[in-house]
């Protein structure tokens, strides 16, 4: 029911998983910038192809890829349709449906496809990052980027306890289902409300116990994070190489656009 994070794959060993998370995060951010500033569809689509190819090559199950890409793909479809019929000036074709006239326009189609390509490219970059980097490594990397420690502390605890609460919530939902709590809309709403309430109650109780456990191990209001080692030579080289690659691809596109 709540198959949320399939982060088991991030613990698989492969060349990408071994790269320092800071380097990976920086590269991903650079790729995102390149994609969302792209003026033509070529660069984003190349990024999309590259990332998707890598994800497939890492043998991530097709089902997971489909689940992750389903929503972005449908958004792309909506975008293309919306932009094609709503913006632009040069008509390319028109048709009438149930008495209504639809006119597709070239500029709109182009704009829609560009937006769609950007979505695909950007989503695939983050997807690739997320299947080769466990959450705690990303949190570590974020620390290096000087994110607020308090923000990170809450993030770490939240991430951990989402899984704990998920187990009891899944049991609760199943228990309700087995006693026919979801057979009509009204019952479903009532059951759902109880489920939400119970999850909050469980979280409040868990917060108390967790805080006790933290206190007993010397917690004084700030979660201690370990030191971050310097970025290794190999990782520095990978980082430099990738950033240079992304920058030149972006410049190339810019040049082509002139």
């Amino acid at each position: 029911m709540f198959d949320l994070f399939s982060d088991i794959f991030t613990y698989r060993d492969n060349a990408l998983a071994r790269i320092d998370p800071r380097a990976k995060l920086a590269i991903a951010l650079a790729a995102l910038v390149a994609v969302v500033t792209a003026e033509r569809i070529v660069l984003p689509l190349c990024v999309f192809g590259l990332c998707l190819g890598t994800v497939v090559g890492l043998r991530i199950p097709a089902k997971l890829i489909a689940v992750r890409l389903a929503a972005p793909l449908s958004i792309v479809a909506v975008l293309v349709v919306l932009q094609t019929f709503l913006t632009g000036a040069t008509p390319i074709f028109a048709f009438t449906l149930a008495g209504w006239e639809f006119t597709a326009k070239a500029e709109g189609l182009r704009q829609g496809m560009l937006l769609g390509a950007r979505v695909l490219g950007a989503v695939s970059v983050v997807f690739l990052l997320s299947v080769v980097t466990p959450a705690h490594r990303i949190f570590q990397a974020l620390r290096w980027f000087r994110l607020s420690r308090n923000w990170l502390e809450i993030a770490v605890l939240m991430y951990r306890y989402i899984f704990v609460l998920m187990e009891s919530a899944a049991d609760l939902a199943a228990a309700q289902k087995l006693r026919l709590g979801y057979t009509t809309k009204g019952r479903a709403l009532r059951s759902f409300t109880a489920l939400a309430g119970a999850t909050i109650v469980h979280s409040l109780e868990q917060a108390e116990r967790t805080h006790n456990a933290m206190r007993l191990r010397g917690y004084r209001g700030v979660m201690p994070f370990g030191p971050l080692p310097a970025l290794g030579r190999r990782d520095r080289m990978i980082l430099a190489f990738c950033l240079a690659g992304i920058a030149s691809a972006r410049l190339l596109e810019w040049g082509a656009g002139r």
């Binding site: 087995l178 006693r179 109880a194």
Partner: protein, 289 residues
């Protein structure tokens, strides 16, 4: 007739864990069955399949002669009830009464019938006095019984329980097992329970399925199951304490013991035959109950 059966069932979680690989599991009406297995052997997964919470990747599950997919939710859950391990995860109403009434109300029964079912199911688990109490003020043992009552109120003919005695103290454990025995013997309910505690089971179960790594290692009446020391070791289980004692005396000390006594009663009988009458203190033997 078969109350519930699974044939060649496979199940793999989304993350690739193969939790069940080819399970055959058949229960006749009125049986008392134990699914025995170590942590992670697949007991909960099997149970979730049997009640239709998850779908098998391969294999067939039949409930009372019908494939599970053909049954509507209403039909299915009036035939099979599941009691979860942690009562806190299945009691969602404010009071005991409301919780027990949840199922019957969802069946659109008239209020009088609902109330009657609540009374009946609460008395079946010896929890009638708790009727008006708030759920979150109950003790753990009381919560366990009330969660059983909530399922009983659906009047299932098959009752499945995941670790019904986990977390209970000895008195609570004995009470729960007596309760299940009564439901099975007197009310004719088919009872299936998953557990990894070996000591109480032999007294109650007609048959035991031993699970290990998603497979049925062995299946049979408890006398048969506990004869196979290596199988038991492989399943990361152990013999009941009594059997262990008798096993060691038989195996290492050469004491001639028939089969393998599982219960205190059986062990006592066998040992008394071996101990010379003249050693027994006169006058005491009479008191034997």
């Amino acid at each position: 007739m078969k109350a519930i059966s699974a044939t060649g069932v496979h199940f793999t979680y989304d993350d690739g864990t193969e939790a069940l690989s080819g399970i055959d599991f058949h229960v006749e009406e009125g049986e008392f069955i134990a699914i025995l297995g170590s942590n992670g052997s697949g007991k909960t997964t099997l149970i979730n399949l049997l009640v239709g919470l998850i779908k098998a990747r391969a294999g067939r599950i039949m409930i009372g002669g019908q494939a599970i997919g053909e049954l509507s939710a209403e039909e299915l859950y009036q035939r099979v009830g599941l009691v979860f391990q942690n009562p806190n995860d299945q009691l969602f109403a404010a009071t005991v009464e409301e919780d027990c009434a949840f199922g019957p109300r969802n069946l659109n029964l008239p209020e009088a019938e609902v109330q009657q079912r609540v009374t009946e199911s609460l008395s079946a688990v010896a929890a009638l006095p708790l009727r008006g109490r708030a759920i979150h003020h109950l003790s753990f043992g009381e919560q366990k019984r009330v969660s059983l009552a909530g399922v009983m109120a659906m009047r299932p003919s098959v009752l499945i329980l995941d670790e019904p005695t986990a977390g209970l103290d000895p008195a609570g454990e004995a009470q729960m097992m007596q309760l299940l025995k009564k439901l099975n013997r007197e009310e004719g309910l088919t009872v299936i329970l998953a557990t990894h505690s070996v000591d109480m089971l032999p007294l109650f179960a007609n048959r035991i399925y031993v699970l290990d790594q998603g497979r049925v290692l062995q299946e049979g009446p408890s006398e048969e199951i506990f004869c196979h020391q290596e199988m038991i070791d492989r399943a990361k289980l152990r013999l009941p304490y009594i059997s262990r004692l008798m096993y060691e005396m038989k195996r290492h000390d050469g004491v001639p013991i028939d089969g393998l006594p599982l219960t205190i009663g059986e062990a006592r009988e066998q040992l008394l035959e071996l101990i010379p009458k003249e050693l027994i203190i006169a006058g005491m033997g009479e008191k034997r109950p």
